[in-house]
Symmetry: C2
Subunit: 244 residues, 2 copies
């Protein structure tokens, strides 16, 4: 397994020349709902991190020194068992938070799926900011709440759904997320490989592959570009989600 260990390049935000007020993802991230003063407070402590595909942003067990917000690209977060079994706990896209759990150490490793840009907020300074702007804490609580709901859905999926139901749920969730962000809900873009999908759904690559084929053959989906799935029959896919 050729493990690439690359240093994370880290540059102060201003060198990139893009102030928060001109940020691409302002309205889809936490920043959109903040006051000018709060935004200014964040801007003072933020730096930008650029990651290449495959590069780790945080490591499970490391002291949690910062909190991140994905600006561009995609990230997977996962936990490992000593023997190498892996569970991906989430895929993060622009607007998503990384390391929101305010614990002493990171509970998971996070790795870029593509070239990815993130905003980095040092934890110490973030906590000071939370004291200054309580509203910021509220927003974080809302984010954490949403993550919690998603985690519980995933428990239901992992504990009780069949392979077909899992993959259908996954595709539909990605599609709905895209729609919520104002993008087309089909085709669904899959920046991750079969192995990653498998480790997210508690299955194997083979089962993912076979189930994709089943869906394709039954006409529910169609292979668009490489890494893109067109949802042909939304209704049918939704039915498959809970055992149609």
């Amino acid at each position: 397994m050729p493990l690439k260990l690359v240093e994370i390049r880290e540059t102060p935000a201003r060198t990139l020349g893009a102030p928060c007020s001109a940020c691409d993802i302002r309205d889809i991230s936490i920043c959109g709902s903040l006051t000018t003063a709060e935004l200014e407070g964040l801007r003072r402590i933020v730096s930008t991190v650029q990651c290449a595909a495959g590069q780790a942003v945080i490591h499970e067990g490391d002291p949690a020194e910062a909190l991140f917000n994905v600006v561009a690209g995609a990230v997977k977060s996962y936990k490992l068992l000593p023997d190498g079994r892996r569970q991906i706990t989430g895929f993060l896209f622009p607007g998503d938070f990384l390391g929101i759990a305010l614990n002493d150490t990171y509970a998971y490793t996070a790795e870029a799926l593509q070239a990815t840009r993130l905003c980095r907020f040092p934890r110490r300074r973030m906590e000071a900011l939370l004291a200054e702007f309580p509203n910021l804490g509220q927003r974080l609580l809302v984010e954490a709440s949403n993550e919690l709901v998603a985690a519980q859905d995933q428990m239901l999926l992992l504990g009780r759904k069949t392979a077909k139901e899992r993959l259908a749920s996954f595709l539909l969730a990605l599609s709905e997320r895209a729609a919520r962000l104002g993008r087309p809900n089909s085709p669904v873009v899959l920046p991750m490989g079969r192995g990653d999908i498998a480790d997210y759904l508690g299955l194997t690559t083979e089962t993912i592959s076979r189930t994709f084929t089943q869906f394709r053959r039954s006409g529910v989906i169609r292979q668009a570009e490489r890494g893109e799935i067109e949802i042909v029959q939304h209704k049918a896919l939704r039915a498959l989600t809970e055992g149609g």
Copy 2:
């Protein structure tokens, strides 16, 4: 399936005659780390709910009108699939929060495992209180963070662990939780039945039963009282957790 539909009895806190400052679980719940003013604010909006075993406290999909804190007893929270498959998302004990996810509707149903007493905080008034006492929000964020970490551990368990590893992890987690609350870490008290454990671990009652027997035969645990498991070999059980 004889479904008991019983009204939840609800009485204002003061009628029970126990002010927060004399609360049994002050130091293990959120209340322990609050100022007098914050505690007084909570006391003004709190009421106490008493539930019999099997009674639902909240229902998945209902508007989330309140947030609860378990004072005594035990609660299970679960999600259902239309065909009846069930995933228990957590067991809650004194000090635990219920409905912390500040969303519009409850994401799961919660049901008392035994006679249970809870503190009830109306959501509207809670939000007003959060605005008044930012520190309270911080505390909720910490609670949510911890729940999030637990949820991710559970995803790893459900997605990647074997039946033996799941049950070992479960017993150890209960044992450690008891220890954290200053109780003996063995024997472990199991207020839930085999079916509940199965639905929590993504298995069946039969597999739970068989795995308990395996553990008993190999001398790792011993059956103490009904509903109590003595952990004989802590080390061995921990090894089983990740495939020993």
